[in-house]
């Protein structure tokens, strides 16, 4: 439905480089990346607010690269929402409809329907600048949906609302999507991407690092950056070789462990921090057991993250209920056991 082909754009201290992806009709596509990665610029290029230096944008197989903003059928919801402060909520929602020269009866009908769907029908005579953050989000959504965009572009729309309102709005966006709306959503929030997306493109420094189904993104991050961004702490470049019928992963000369499946060659290795076993006493057995030293203890939501130096810096997550917190001291020697089945080898090494 929407396709970007080799879009490049030089900005002051940053450049988008050969951005290509396509979004299918009815798909929820999330562009995920840190601040300054170029996510918003991609949306502004699609909407026509910025012209690309090169590349093409196709909507329904027709190039819209040179089309005027007004004719693009790609409605953008800005991060700051850009609600017109001098207009009432009704006038804001009606704004786009007036440009379409719809008659008054049609306008009223559309505005009433949308305001009811968004739960803002009681706010219609209020000035936009007297609304709360969540109310503004709904008004902005209603305003952009009123023009029936073929593609809805959301530029970090939930970055400035409270968590409780954010959850409400997630469901609202899911509903809009369930009605068949194609959505491209830019965010830096991994959780938001996981909740909303069908597919995710991870962007860093103006480049797409990976495009994947959201589950594949977690299972098979294709770079350290993506792994970091999706919250995978233990992600290493490695070499797999076969020794005595076992696949041995070598991260460096001192750190080698066995995994239960693989192929020989360069790869990335991912070890889930929650699956690593830690003990003050040596584990029984011989495979994948390493001595290490506790270098940091980071309390988090349901437990603790322990940083262990064992020739590589490994992060293990331990549940509060399963560990003696008193016994944890930085500098303490510990034993680490990496279960074979917890070692995920990723081969698209690039």
């Amino acid at each position: 439905m929407l396709e970007l082909v080799n879009i490049s754009k030089g900005m002051n201290e940053f450049a988008l480089q050969n951005i290509s992806f396509s979004v299918q009709k009815g798909e929820y596509f999330v562009i995920l990346g840190p601040s300054g990665a170029g996510k918003s610029v991609i949306l502004e290029i699609i909407s026509g607010l910025i012209k690309p230096d090169k590349g093409e944008i196709y909507l329904n197989k027709k190039s819209i690269t040179q089309d005027k903003i007004q004719n693009r059928k790609a409605g953008i919801l800005f991060q700051d929402l850009a609600i017109f402060p001098h207009l009432t909520v009704r006038q804001n929602i009606e704004f786009g409809l007036k440009q379409k020269k719809l008659n008054s009866a049609n306008r009223i009908s559309i505005v009433n329907k949308l305001s009811s769907e968004m739960g803002i029908d009681h706010l219609m005579v209020r000035r936009a600048n007297s609304l709360s953050g969540g109310e503004k989000q709904r008004v902005a959504l209603a305003r952009i949906l009123a023009i029936e965009p073929e593609c809805l572009l959301l530029d970090e729309p939930l970055s400035s609302v409270d968590t409780s309102i954010k959850e409400e709005l997630w469901y609202l966006l899911k509903e809009i999507h369930a009605n068949g709306q194609t959505i491209i959503h830019v965010t830096h929030d991994f959780e938001e991407a996981m909740i909303l997306a069908d597919r995710v493109a991870v962007v860093s420094e103006g480049k797409i690092m990976q495009i994947a189904n959201k589950y594949d993104l977690i299972k098979k991050p294709q770079s350290k950056f993506v792994a970091d961004f999706v919250g995978i702490k233990n992600y290493f470049s490695a070499m797999v070789s076969q020794v005595n019928g076992h696949y041995v992963v070598e991260i460096n000369k001192n750190v080698r462990f066995v995994c239960n499946k693989g192929e020989e060659g360069r790869c990335h290795v991912m070890i889930r921090s929650s699956e690593i076993n830690i003990s003050a006493n040596k584990f029984s057995g011989e495979k994948n057991i390493f001595p290490g030293k506790l270098t940091a203890i980071v309390p988090c939501k349901n437990g603790m993250e322990l940083k262990i130096d064992m020739g590589i810096m490994l992060t293990a997550f331990v549940d509060y209920r399963l560990i003696d917190i008193e016994g944890l001291v930085i500098g303490k020697s510990v034993w680490v056991k990496i279960p074979e089945e917890s070692v995920n080898v990723i081969y698209n090494y690039g």
């Binding site: 607010l49 007004q70 953008i76 700051d80 850009a82 402060p85 704004f95 786009g96 440009q99 379409k100």
Partner: protein, 260 residues
């Protein structure tokens, strides 16, 4: 008891001096006028006609200038182009040059010897000694106030709002009239008031273009030169009162818009 520090008290003292410097001559002038003389002035046809001329020419200068100035201010606020800084400097020139010199410059531009002057002559009027010429002189010296205020106003309108309007399908002209202009309006009205007020009080440039018909600042000068201070003061007080009434009314108008 709350202590006022040395810094604050010295600033208050210096500020008071400034206020005294502004208020004292005006109060002195009012006190030097008898109610009788003031009443007589309000009945003086020459004074009334000069006040009407001053207001109408300043108003005309402001409104006509606004038609071109507002688009220019928008361009200056929104666009980056070669020579923009030079243009910004040029715009403020009339504020810094002596107003009699400004009058000479305007005269050189609209007198009968110039192309514009001759074109006006062919239409049956002359800028020199004409209310239109007075308006031109007033506009020349006061237009920077409007340009700067309007430019500030447009600059304060987030560009995002204009982009959002474009994205909602509005054409650029529609965006200007429905988003940019209403949001910058308060600053523009402030600029209009300042330009109008500055135009009304202009003497140096106007007197070069048109001694007659007399605007009030010229009439005050003439009364002072011909009859002395005693005859100039009531006209001055009356004119200041008129200016203040206009100034307050227009300020109230903008304040009302602010809360609308």
């Amino acid at each position: 008891m709350r202590k006022i520090g040395f810094l604050n008290s010295s600033f208050v003292f210096l500020g008071s001096l400034v206020l005294f410097f502004i208020v004292a001559p005006l109060v002195g002038m009012v006190l030097n006028t008898t109610p009788g003389a003031l009443l007589e002035t309000t009945k003086d046809k020459e004074v009334i006609s000069s006040v009407c001329l001053t207001i109408s020419t300043a108003f005309g200068a402001t409104i006509v200038s606004a038609l071109a100035v507002i688009p220019l201010a928008y361009l200056l606020a929104r666009k980056e182009f070669f020579g923009k800084r030079i243009i910004l400097g040029i715009i403020n020139l009339p504020v810094v040059i002596p107003h009699s010199a400004a009058g000479i410059a305007v005269l050189g531009f609209v007198s009968r010897d110039t192309l514009i002057g001759q074109a006006a002559e062919s239409l049956g009027f002359s800028f020199v000694g004409n209310p239109v010429g007075i308006s031109v002189a007033m506009a020349f010296v006061s237009v920077p106030f409007l340009i700067n205020a309007a430019r500030d106003g447009f600059q304060a309108v987030p560009e995002r709002l204009e982009k959002a309007a474009l994205n909602l399908g509005a054409k650029p002209l529609r965006v200007f009239f429905s988003i940019s202009l209403p949001l910058a309006w308060r600053s523009i009205v402030y600029g209009l008031i300042m330009m109008f007020a500055r135009g009304m009080s202009e003497f140096g440039a106007v007197v070069i273009i048109a001694y007659h018909p007399m605007i009030t600042p010229v009439l005050i000068y003439e009364r002072f030169g011909s009859f002395g201070l005693k005859h100039a003061v009531p006209v001055s007080v009356f004119f200041i009162a008129v200016c203040l009434v206009f100034f307050v009314l227009l300020r109230l108008l903008t304040k009302e818009r602010k809360h609308a």
